[in-house]
Amino acid sequence: MAKRRVRLFFPPALITEPLVWSLGKHFDVVTNIRGGEIAGDSGWLYIELTGEDDELDRALQWTMDKGVRVDPVEGDIIAG
């Protein structure tokens, strides 16, 4: 089983959507929220996903397709 630690950034339109619940429902991944904040019209979550590599890829692609920004918890890794 692989793990991915990511930061999800929710735009205003998705703030009220139960996306983490949907992730666990639609894909064979374990979701584990570790931190986050909802401030006004946007929000973010630190989340750890556990599952097979392919399933994690599919789950994260689905999340991005929904309009959620997915980044490594480290933020941008490519430096100047």
């Binding site: 950034f9 980044d71 890794i77």
Partner: protein, 420 residues
């Protein structure tokens, strides 16, 4: 390590032993190095530092290393240049430039990388790695060469040839990745997770970031052991910005300067200014942006330390500003023609924001201001070249020269070509 207590989470305060880790297992907050300041205070002096090497390693007791051999390419002790010509143009009277264009790989990145490479070797790694569009890659590759370590560098596949040369000359394994920026970013995170390498700005980030404190240490020492009133720092991930502030705090904490942290001024390119935008919106939430700027070395749309930068700005009553690409080029040219420093685009950002603040009357003309210039102009000549005067071309004739020179100095022939 005599003066280092371990790592601590910046968010929840959880403590960890020194290890190549960077994220808190509990809350995923960033880890940073914790020092025993009382012990350092009892064992450090200005005189001892002044007798030390002409490199960042004169501040060794304030860096996360022990007695291990350091990986050193002679970084640091770069000039703090009093900039009276530029100051006159801007209506200021005590302006200084911290000229980090002259580091061994021509950018400030040598500061964090010398610390990260030293720790990498001490942790037993044989491979050092990074993902970069230029400055970091060159510095990592240079340090790996010096240390005799294997080096793997990831770059976007569309990187300019001149930048690739600046990296590949040190003979790393250079991997160009096709895909958009976010794809490349995510892949590098996965590679870092999977391969047992020392990624300087990922698993070694707590140590790597500490190297940037030397930008504060040197400025304070060069000013005669005092902090300036205001600094302006070109900012991408925010690590350098927060560590410069921390550097001044630490010097006070160990008794080397009187307690004072400068007003911290943060400078970004308008085409990638998520921290400035949050500051202007009076928000503590960084909204990631898609970078679009000539200042490639600052093009980080989702800055890891953005939130902490906002906290530093508030705590020091500092400011944040951004400049357009045109203003960046103007800043590069202004710096070069007034002070003889050819900086890369990030330097243009620093000088551009300095000018903007001065023009708006937001800087006290008498206070001591330091603008950080962090990379060499030869890294990004294409940014400024199209707006420079072309040479005056003449045949080998004295009369032709007399005429051309007279006309040029009268301002009528800048960039024209004389027919033979």
């Amino acid at each position: 390590m005599q003066f280092v207590k371990g790592l601590v989470c910046r968010e929840c305060g959880e403590a960890y032993d020194l290890a190549p880790i960077h994220v808190c297992e509990l809350c995923f907050g960033p880890l940073e190095v914790a020092y025993d300041y009382a012990a350092i205070r009892a064992n450090i002096s200005r005189e001892e530092i002044e007798r030390g090497p002409q490199t960042v390693w004169r501040y060794r007791k304030l860096l996360p290393v022990g007695d291990e051999p350091i990986v050193d390419i002679q970084t640091g002790c770069t000039p703090l240049q009093r900039a009276d010509n530029l100051a006159r143009v801007l209506g200021l009277r005590n302006l200084y430039l911290k000229n980090d264009t002259v580091n061994p790989s021509f950018s400030f990145k040598d500061r964090p990388v010398t610390v990260a490479a030293t720790r990498a070797r001490a942790f037993g790694y044989d491979t050092i790695a990074c993902a970069s569009t230029g400055n970091l890659a060159a510095s990592v590759a240079a340090h790996a060469a010096r240390a005799g370590m294997r080096c793997v560098v990831f770059i976007p596949s569309d990187l300019e040839t001149s930048k690739i040369t600046n990296i590949s000359v040190y003979d790393p394994t250079l991997v160009a990745i096709r895909g958009n920026y976010d794809d490349v970013n995510r892949l590098c995170a996965e590679i870092a997770d999977r391969y047992g390498w020392a990624f300087v700005n990922i698993n070694l980030r707590p140590y790597y970031a500490e190297g940037s404190k030397t930008l504060a240490f040197e400025v304070a020492e060069q000013l005669g052991w005092r902090a300036p009133d205001t600094v302006i720092v070109p900012t991408a991930s925010g690590a350098m910005f927060t560590k410069i502030a921390r550097g001044f705090e630490e010097l006070a904490e160990v008794g080397l300067i009187s307690p004072s942290v400068p007003k911290m001024g943060l400078a970004q390119a308008a085409g990638c200014a998520p921290i400035v935008q949050a500051h202007e919106a009076n928000s503590m939430t960084i909204r990631p942006v898609k970078p679009s700027t000539i200042a490639k070395s600052l093009a980080i749309g989702n800055p890891a330390d953005g939130y902490y930068c906002l906290k530093v700005i508030k705590a020091t009553e500092g400011f944040a500003g951004s400049v357009t690409d045109e203003e960046i080029v103007d800043g590069m040219k202004l710096l070069a023609r007034t002070e003889g420093i050819f900086a890369e685009t990030a330097g243009g950002v620093s000088i551009g924001v300095l000018k903007k603040m001065a023009d708006a009357g937001l800087l006290d003309p008498d206070e001591t201001i330091v603008a950080y210039v962090t990379g060499n102009g030869l890294k990004t000549p294409e940014a400024v070249a199209p707006s420079l005067n072309a040479p005056i071309t003449i045949s080998a004739s004295m009369s032709e020269f007399d005429t051309a020179f007279a006309e040029a100095t009268a301002g009528r022939l800048r960039g024209a070509e004389v027919a033979v």
